[in-house]
Chain length 220, copies 2
């Protein structure tokens, strides 16, 4: 019954991570079951525990793999721009947002489902989930916040932080294809068209940042 050739070495581990990504994104951490992931990966359930020990271990491995890939691209883009000298806010925002959208390594759909996962993790109450975000995203976030302050004189640390968080929140919530944009706009906007969404997000966020950078005398 087993195919005579075992496939490329170590492939089942990646298969599990792929399946975990799909199932976790669709049903959340608690909603996803090890059985469903194993079935999606077409391996025995015990193999998940063999590779990742616990459900949390599997989740973190999957989370680290994908977020690491995205953040490497983000920082690479940022470094290229910084090396070139003067940067526009638009460039920074685009470097921050586009890699997440393009992160879908399955050809069919972009990284929208992973976006919901980040969102769920980053707004969750649990300490473990907070730790995940802190470990895997904070270092990258600090570099982008610094870059924003560099590009916009007048933007202090507090405002740059709020700006960064607003941008990520605004964009992340729109990456999952929920069909809500289509519904509310009577079809004139669509969350399937991630490129159009990103273009609007860049305009929206950049203007918002510039406004935060020019707070009048009495701010708070």
């Amino acid at each position: 019954m087993n195919p005579s050739r075992p496939p490329a070495k170590g492939s089942s581990r990646e298969d599990i991570l792929d399946a975990a990504e799909t199932v976790f994104a669709a049903r959340g951490f608690e909603g996803a079951s090890m059985r469903a992931i194993a079935e999606a990966a077409k391996v025995a359930q015990a193999l998940l525990h063999y590779h990742f020990k616990t459900k949390e271990g599997l989740f973190e491995a999957m989370f680290a793999r994908r977020s690491g890939a995205i953040n490497r691209i983000r920082l690479a883009r940022l470094d290229v721009m910084l090396a070139r000298g003067k940067i526009s806010v638009e460039d920074i925002v685009e470097a921050l947002l586009r890699p997440t959208i393009e992160a879908g390594h399955d050809p069919s759909r972009g990284g929208g489902r992973f976006a919901s996962l980040i969102l769920a993790v980053s707004t969750a109450g649990g300490d473990w989930q907070k730790g995940l975000v802190a470990r895997h995203y904070d270092p990258m976030a600090e570099r982008f916040i610094a870059a924003l302050m560099g590009a916009l004189p007048g933007l202090d640390r507090a405002h740059a932080t709020w700006g960064y968080l607003f941008i990520v929140g605004a964009a992340l919530t729109q990456m999952a294809p929920t069909g809500r944009a289509d519904r509310l706009s009577a079809g004139e906007a669509s969350d399937e068209d991630t490129d159009a969404m990103l273009a609007q997000a860049v305009i929206f966020a950049s203007a918002g940042l510039r406004a935060l950078a020019t707070v009048p005398p009495g701010d708070r």
Copy 2:
């Protein structure tokens, strides 16, 4: 053991909804158990099924109660402003965001935890959860989108929809007290200070909206 006076009639039903709000917000839909909710409400677990039939029924009842209360306030504020004539974008954004923050009816903490819940529901993949958002939020959303278009000539339906969604996404993700703002800003911003956050959000969002309203000739 039972107190001789049964408390104010129908109070245990509200107690259950209160407890459900707390537990669902802290652990998510799948992570929350009927047992934990019953314990928090200090009633027998079977009573939850007596009042709400299923776990989904309980969730929807709790969701409807809280979102209804928030949206009533939102729309009331909007109507007052519309009746007064000219409206600023800032007013609309504030009318949209502040009620959610102030929605905490427990004195200790604001509606931050409920914000995570909306977020989880609105980005979830399940059809049932999409339906929840559509039923309980879309009518209110459409009125605010229309108001935005009224206040900003040049803002068409598609852009107003994106703007609305960006605003809600940006603000909602910052309402849950995760401590992330404090961390990233080295203490100069805090997500405990929801008033400061809201002030920044209004500045950020209003500028973003104005930018979306003044898209040059070649848009997309």
